[in-house]
Subunit: 429 residues, 2 copies
């Protein structure tokens, strides 16, 4: 089939009739599928059920150093967990704090602490007239929601396959003291699945911010989440790179096991410089006596070591790979050559990014919803939920079973076509 | 023996020689005991080991309503946990949010949210010149530490056996808009083990604060922590009382299972009015996707229901009762009639409060430490760690084994005597 843009009005109208009939068939299926969030599917969750047996009443719950994990104490995590998560994050255990179950919570707290107490002796952000955050777009809605909640002015920075536009970032960060942070998902980015290039990471580490309390919020959520054993993206380790660049305190790096074991019952972590850690611990010891050490020990006993975690992630990949591949196959078959949409082909992570024709995203999401498939809201990948092009849609293929996903993908492609025709007919009118 | 105050200088000097010899014997024991914090002992922790078997890989981890506890979702806690914790807190499940592992963390977050975003539409506290908190004294050091961290002016309010001085509280709260909160441990208070009288609770519920965003921070940490089956303190339920008094939004009530199951691996909770809950959820959904539902389910499956928890608390009581009674016996035997100290006789909770002669507390703690027994730092029960009388010491009898505790109690009594003589000799000089 030829590109839609080359079709005459009559051809478009005819195509629309065919598509409408197909859409009605989908509606008759009474689908009820949810592809809105990056949730692991049941088969993935089942992979970690062994963790429920990792501790039992006959085992002692002591650390190697004798710490009784059942009792109070140990503010920043047991040594075994720091070792395991250190290996996962590619950081020294001494640079790590193990938190509770949610890295989003750690990010929120990090911003909140900066608001009330400032970073390393700088003025608390709540006392400033304006705090600005850079937001690579399309990006992660929950990051933007934190900035929105704290009233930050969010500046969109375009994403490329190599990461966000570094020319723009360098210029902005070095010239505007009100810019205090940037939200990054550097590996298998949300939603594109892009990984920052070596050059991008090196330039991040070499930023010369006007604000002494500018920090990179480096959310390495998908560091272990490859789809292919022999075709993985590689990311330069940012802490080490910042240290080499003479910028040791520039970055807060976040991670968690949420999509490794159980979302909501994993362990979250932060890696950063010793100066930042000292700053953070001064607050952390006021906020809590310590996080859940028993759950830390449970993770350590379940995985044994980083090799156990890598093997575990292979099993996740075996479940997710066919889903990502099915999406790409169906989109290629249904949309290839039509010139009405592009999509990414991630080698890992949890999402795929779809760019429709301008002005079509909301309509596509609405049409899919009316046929029983809930997608991430259009606009969600932009600050304040406002995509100025109304073109980007985040696709989350992990949760539905493979056959349902295929159905949803076909419906999605159909909705893209219908929306595009509506758009093209408007242009012709 | 007659009261020390009635002794002559010679009698005091002679007594001191006897005591010094005893002290040397204690030093020769090379003790290493820690009574500084309210930590459960190993036997108490062992009571909850069955919880490690409450979930295993063969059981499904679904709630009654079908929620898969392993996945994302459920911002404010699974229904079963709300039911159990509701029964524990004497509140309706709908008034409850289940959090992570630490009620201290919930209190910190509650203050932090008020600082950055204000309470129910009021001005964020960080924008105010002055925020004041009322601090019943002696009180809980970690409460005061939160206020100190946020720069609150802390106003000490004297405690009585019936709770804090309500005349003073009523006057202050109704006249000063800068007073935004009060820290309360209403049942088996930290450190005295006092429980607020019916009259005290009723007066709390009927406060007429000048500040619309004044809140009572009601830390009901020891609601279930009785020592005696048939001699328990009773506390009027504050939410219901506030509602009756036409002050439904006046209180945040905190609790946790930290000293029921495992400290650090329990579940924390907050109960409050629907208006407050709505205010809190608006922030909570930015801060996290949800807390650890698997651990919530683990607690529910372990206890079954509130009766299971009550039975469980009886076992804790059986371990702790002899410790509290031993302390009282030894203090009575060693210090009775000497007029150099008074102590409380709690019927529950985790602490006992000791009042020495003015100017003796630090010295007593120092002497105990030099003989191998670490007590809570003198002054810790006052804001900024400053006890103007230098007389109050919190005693935490739960952690050491009973025999060690007895030894420590005898050493403590000895240190009280030595300090008092030093003090009396100074007065005579």
């Amino acid at each position: 089939m030829k590109p839609y843009a080359e079709m005459t009005k009559e051809e478009l109208l005819q195509e629309r009739e065919t598509l409408k009939a197909q859409y009605k068939k989908f509606q008759a299926l009474e689908l009820s599928l949810n592809m809105s969030r990056g949730k692991p599917c049941i088969e993935q969750l089942d992979l970690s059920m062994g963790m429920m047996d990792a501790l039992n009443s006959h085992e002692d719950l002591n650390c190697a150093d004798g710490t009784d994990c059942r009792n109070y104490g140990v503010l920043d995590g047991i040594e075994e967990a720091k070792q395991l998560i250190g290996d996962m994050m590619e950081n020294h255990p001494d640079n790590i704090i193990i938190y509770g179950n949610s890295s989003l919570n750690v990010m929120y707290d990090t911003v909140s602490r900066a608001e009330t107490h400032g970073i390393m002796g700088n003025v608390p952000w709540c006392q400033l007239k304006k705090v600005k955050f850079l937001c690579p777009v399309p990006g992660y809605d929950r990051h933007f929601a934190i900035s929105e909640y704290f009233g930050h002015e969010m500046i969109p920075v375009p994403m490329t396959e190599k990461g966000p536009d570094m020319d723009m970032i360098e210029e902005l960060v070095s010239s505007d003291e009100a810019i205090k942070g940037i939200w990054c998902v550097p590996k298998y980015s949300n939603p594109q699945g892009y990984s920052y290039s070596d050059d991008t990471v090196r330039r991040f580490a070499r930023l010369k911010p006007a604000a002494p309390d500018f920090r990179i919020f480096w959310d390495n959520a998908y560091g272990m989440h490859h789809l292919y054993d022999n075709d993985q993206d590689y990311l330069i380790e940012i802490l080490a790179e910042c240290k080499r660049a003479g910028n040791p305190d520039l970055v807060y790096k976040f991670s968690s096991t949420s999509k490794i074991t159980f979302p909501g019952s994993g362990i979250a972590s932060l890696a950063t410089s010793h100066n930042n850690l000292e700053d953070i611990r001064n607050q952390l010891r006021i906020q809590t006596i310590g996080h859940d050490k028993v759950n830390q020990l449970r993770h350590v006993r379940f995985f044994g070591n980083i090799h156990g975690m890598v093997e575990h992630m292979r099993k996740h990949a075996d479940i997710l790979r066919p889903k990502f591949e099915a999406l790409d196959e169906i989109f290629t078959k249904e949309l290839g050559g039509l010139g009405i949409g592009t999509w990414t082909k991630p080698k890992g992570g949890y999402f795929m990014s779809f760019d429709a024709m301008d002005g079509c995203a909301k309509d596509i999401v609405d049409r899919a919803k009316k046929a029983g498939v809930v997608l991430t809201g259009a606009g969600a990948t932009w600050p304040h939920g406002h995509d100025p092009h109304d073109s980007n849609i985040r696709i989350a293929p992990t949760y539905p079973p493979l056959e349902d996903l295929k159905t949803a993908a076909r419906l999605f492609a159909l909705c893209v076509k219908l929306s595009s025709i509506r758009r093209l007919l408007e242009d012709l009118a």
